[in-house]
Symmetry: C2
């Protein structure tokens, strides 16, 4: 029992040390384990099952919208990476280089893909000739490598899992529509499946993807008031097509350059789930991606009929939900703590007296509220409760964000808002000048997160220089 | 139309040049495209969709048997790879080495995983302490890299996709049972889903996996008579546990070494499908993994009612099958060739006269037989036809293998059988001595594929030295 207890004791309180609370959850909920390579982690079964659920929902949505999965190599020759000037400048400083195959030095070194635009472009140049070959709506689920200096599980790791969509279209209009569509797919996924409110917007020039004409992003606010970029979608124009010589014959028999996009979501989302919904008892999972939606804990399980009934409930509920019955010889109290740590949305407790009364105890993880529910109508009851958990998570996250969103009209107001209330989203106007963007960051500590699509007029002038404002920017400190 | 025609013309005949026929199919059925990195290919949507279907079936089976998916890093530090002596000797000569992160040389170079035993062992040493922590039944779906000199799409590529199961058990008995169980899962998958007969057996000492106590394999025979290893399952004993210091406290409070297994199947299977079932018209896909099971080709589609009816059939059939309706402006004849090239098991042709008669033409890919079927009972008819395709593929592959299996009692008989009938499986007895194994290979060209679990007594003496035989070995030339 000593061994078992370790798991549910001493998790750091989130108010005391949020960073430590975060890594405690990553390890104690058995999401990850460290390895001997810095920044590379083992994603354990429980963590990976969350990712599989994320994948399944997103992949279904991508396919519904006509996308097809492919698989590109993991290696990019140095000369290929260098073909698009901005792109290589953005990525070369942080790639891992393969220099030897077995005992032989390679003629040209290869980087492990940090992202795959160059590989897709090389392929498109081979397969696209005519307007009939367009569009191509491709996606792949792979891991990528970026040699980060500082690393944290899920949030910033040297290797991470993601999907990268890469599409190519006859016209700019189509490509822009795709870029917007996919940002909305991401936003809807975060809000409807992960119960995580996001702000949709455009990155400023200084913050856009290396090689993009424009980058759209969704930004979420974590429990501690720091922002987290949860997904991005890029419009490339025909810049990559020109660099890679991709051309197609139009209906009018002219050679044209096609227009491209890319978009991605990563295992970072698991970090975002932890920091949006977690509490001092551990992880709290949105029902849509929870590996276990309902855990059944038998009480006094040695007594006649208890395990039989628990198994019967499991069989019944497994038709529509992801269910686990824990009939191990740990105590019920220990099990309660364990599945709270693991963030299971709904717990059912069933003992001899419950069975006699034709009921069980149902506890929802997010608010730890107990209800006594009849066994007669259990499936519908659980359906409702899972919805209640989702809505409760959304509400709490939304309120946190609203409470931590500050409208500011001067640099001093920004500083005051953050020093009084802690990190959060700052809504403030901007003239569009990069010098002002830099100065806001330097003086107040908050960088521009995005220019939200939903603009508000906080004031008429730039929060920094006082000249006429062009945009409302969402500023913040970010993961 | 010139562009389109290219696809269905001039595929090399398989009897003329089997190797060229193979690569023609890989490219003309749009399974792969080459990249600028030798041995690394793009798996295109149609090829990747086959892999997704393979994954879905296997992953479901693994989970049903209690396995959980995880994800290990792609990098292995050199010192970790070196911990198990036989293992490093087997793999070090063919790994890709990462030496730099960004502009900085790494303190220790990292190899890109060629297989992940060492990573799993490092992890097990961290998480396994007590008998309560056993067994762990883990699997991962990733790509691995082996720096091969000669490469061919799917069959031998420098990067390939696979699943690798890694399990760890309290006892040798449990681990051996797992090794056998997974080999049978693989064999059943090949036979029941891919319509590919396999021989189940054990590898000889000289041919087993680097670090294994014993390696089990399934061997299939390709159309040209060469063998292909379609899956392997390894029993490691406690060798890795000892090398990595993995120990657990038993129920009796003693420190014990656990026993391990690993098992894998790869994108090679797609190569095996091509070479088992393909013909001079292109790919022929087993229905269980075909991305499109039924293609509907409207005839005279500009005539009133044809496309409506075709769409109606598509909607009906999509409930139970993977269906594509091709209403592009290519001619029906061109479409027939295209979907034959792509190996779609069943084709439906429907034109105005068919509609009037309440029927359609159904063509099965493997034998190109036409049948006129009533629209009234179409779903059941297609269900039957897909089964017929599967059985037909199996029968043809089985007959090919039986025709090409030679029972030999002397070296001369082996040479004669192969020179008269071409490559195939040779059944011949062996004394168990590695020198004889080498000599058979040297003199006749066929190496030992496996010692089949189903033993036959071909003769009492070793085919090479004439001493008493221990095993019947299946010999052959292999991919």
């Amino acid at each position: 029992m000593a061994d078992q207890k370790k798991m549910v004791e001493d998790i750091t309180s989130m108010d005391e040390d949020f960073a430590k609370w975060y890594t405690d959850i990553c390890r104690k909920a058995e999401l990850i384990e460290y390895t001997s390579v810095k920044g590379c982690m083992v994603i354990r079964p429980y963590g990976y099952a969350i990712w599989e659920n994320i994948q399944k929902i997103l992949d279904g949505k991508f396919k519904e919208l006509g996308h097809e999965n492919v698989c590109m190599p993991m290696f990019i020759p140095e000369s290929l990476l260098q073909k698009e000037k901005d792109h290589v400048e953005g990525f070369a400083p942080e790639v891992a280089w393969v220099t030897h195959g077995g005992n032989d030095p390679l003629e040209e070194r290869l980087c492990v893909r940090p992202t795959s635009e160059t590989l897709f472009c090389e392929h498109y140049a081979n397969i696209i000739h005519s307007h009939r070959d367009l569009p191509k709506l491709y996606n792949q689920w792979v891991s990528v490598v970026r040699w980060e200096k500082t690393t944290r599980p899920f949030l910033r790791s040297r290797e991470f899992l993601w999907q990268e969509g890469h599409t190519i279209h006859a016209t700019a209009e189509e490509a822009i529509a795709e870029t917007e569509q996919m940002l909305n797919v991401y936003a809807d996924f975060c809000e409807q499946e992960l119960a995580m409110p996001v702000v949709r917007g455009q990155k400023t020039e200084s913050d856009k993807f290396a090689g993009a004409v424009s980058t759209y992003a969704i930004e979420a606010l974590m429990h501690d008031g720091k922002a987290l970029q949860a997904g991005t979608s890029h419009y490339f124009g025909d810049g990559f097509a020109k660099a890679f010589g991709i051309q197609y014959q139009s209906k009018e028999n002219k050679l044209e350059y096609p227009h491209q996009t890319s978009w991605g979501m990563t295992t970072r989302l698991i970090g975002a789930i932890i920091m949006t919904h977690g509490d001092d008892n551990g992880l709290v999972l949105p029902p849509a991606v929870a590996p276990i939606q309902v855990v059944i804990i038998p009480v006094a399980q040695h007594k006649e009929g208890v395990l039989e009934k628990a198994n019967e409930l499991k069989a019944l509920l497994s038709k529509n939900f992801r269910v686990k019955l824990d009939d191990s010889d740990n105590s019920p109290g220990w099990k309660y703590s364990e599945y709270e740590m693991k963030g299971v949305p709904v717990r059912l407790e069933i003992g001899p007296r419950d069975i006699e009364a034709g009921q069980c105890v149902l506890v929802t993880r997010h608010n730890r509220e107990k209800a006594v529910v009849s066994l007669d109508n259990l499936e519908a009851e659980i359906e409702n409760k899972l919805k209640e958990v989702h809505d409760g998570l959304w509400q709490k996250a939304y309120e946190n964000r609203e409470r931590r969103t500050y409208k500011c009209t001067s640099m001093d107001e920004i500083k005051a808002a953050i020093s009084e209330n802690g990190d959060g989203f700052v809504k403030a106007m901007w003239c569009g000048d990069e010098a002002c963007e830099d100065k806001v960051k330097e003086e107040t500590g908050v960088g521009s997160r995005c220019i939200p699509f939903d603009q508000e007029n906080i004031s008429d002038t730039c929060v920094c220089c006082g000249k006429p404002a062009k945009h409302m920017v969402m500023w913040g400190n970010a993961y």
